[in-house]
Amino acid sequence: MIELVNVKKVFNAGNPSEFSALNSVNLLIEENQVTVLKGPSGSGKTTLLSIVGCMSRPSAGRVKLQGREITSLPERFLTDIRRKTFGFIFQQPNLIKGISVLDNVMLPAYPLGEKRVHLKNKAMKGLAALNIANKAASKVEWLSGGEAQRASIVRALINDPYIIIADEPTAHLDTKLSYRFMEIIETFKAEGKTVIITSHDPLVYDSSMVDRVVNLRDGQIEV
């Protein structure tokens, strides 16, 4: 489903501060599985995740999505694919302060120009599924940590993506909320979605629903 062949990522090329985040990574991510990328900080997890999620391009190597080569697609097309295919859940909820939860959730769909009524319905349904429909009109500053996390999950789902990417999702959550989060991941798997998570939280990578754990160290995959 997602294939990385000999992928390298270099920052500040040609400068004294040249730094190689990923060195010759070969990876195949299977469909409808929960894959966890594990590794210490500085191992290149976030970089790998951003390349897998079509957020950035590799310096060398090839990336294929569903068999289609996307390595050298210009940003315009990459973004279009990313919008429809991937849903991102960040470490921080990363909601935009000052606007309501509903507006935040609808944000990723704005560039697609869908009719407002439809979009609103979709958003409300998503909020209801995660039990925060009553907070739709509140400003995001008023949400608790768990509610904010759930709002950002609804936002990630607004365009019906079939791949979910989560970057250290439990880093700022307590145990109870972390378990709740993993339950949500389980429902994704049941719906046929593919999930990719980076984490160094044992609660995540030791979980029973995880199909595969990939160990990353110094920009390379440990076998």
Partner: protein
Amino acid sequence: MRHWIEKQRYIIDFTLSSLLRRKVKNVGLLALYTLIVFILASTMFFTYSIKKEASLILKDSPEIVVQKIVAGRHDLFPVSYIDTIKKIRGVASVESRLWGYYYDSLVGANYTLLTPPRNGSFTDTGKSTAKTTVIDNESTDSSKPLFELNGAVLEPGTLIIGNGIARLRAIGTGDYMPFLAFDGNVLNFKITGVLSSQSELVSSDLMLITGEDFRKLFGIDNSYVTDVTVIVNNPEEIAMVASKIKKRLPQARPIIRDEILRTYDSVFNWRGGMMIVIFSAAVLAFVIFAWDKASGLSAGERREIGILKAVGWETSDVIQMKFWEGAIISLTAFFTGVILAYIHVFFTGSIVFEPALKGWSNLYPNFKLTPFINLEQLTTLFFLTVVPYTVATIVPIWRAATIDPDSAMRFTGE
């Protein structure tokens, strides 16, 4: 197409809320922007409408004015010249004028004394002598009388004065005003009327006097007048007649009305242009300020754009958002500035500019300018304010829009 419209609506929504979220920064920018538009617009409105007033007034001035020049200076015009001019083919009539300046040391002001046409001067066109207002029947613009007598009658020993003089010397109808004649005698004149305030722009310092009194006051012999006006039958022949006058009367200087109109136009243009050039320093400062504001994204703004890019907004979407931001601010500032300038110039009589315009003048007229704005002025304003602002913000906008999407991923703490 529908998608595109819907998308613009979403983006505008988001832009508006984003502007309101950063009130402090945006209000400052808006205020400065409005100020710049206000200053430039006031200058333009003022210049253009004065230019228009001048041209309306001058429209009815005589086609040719002939003066006598001696050693480069304006000398008294011999009455004997009039016959020479009358003989030129194409001349309909010649009228002599008596006018001059009187300096009043009491208040330090210069008055213009004028004998109203056909009142004690040489003429033999037997036209009615009662008419003293000059009205252009065909023009749809409001007529601009040089002066309106309001029914007052000018008799020997009396004066009709302009509003400015009345205010300055605090005198009105029925009062007496002493003048120092050329031979040292004091002549007392009675004020029998005050000119209407409608024509104040041109008649503020004007005094109407009979021909005999004029000659008595200034010691001018009957064989001289100040200058003459010439009316020509066929407008196409004006230049021809003027050159003939010059040929037959070498010391005469004919001045053609159109030339005056062009010169006035030119002077006003130049004045208006000068002010714009001076204010260009202010515009430049504003543009640099705008550029700086647009470039200086706060950490919060940077994060916001990172989030937008991360959740699926493209660079061109962010550019569109920033474009709407600029457009909303520009349009608000432009319209507010123009409206304020309109009120300033046409309702308050350019209060802010008054000290600069008044200068040394003691007889400053209280005038209400007729509002005159057209598309040309607004377009010029647009080009001088909105265009520089927009261009200055292009590169900062692009820089903001090309923030990496994965910066949102890398942001790990508050």
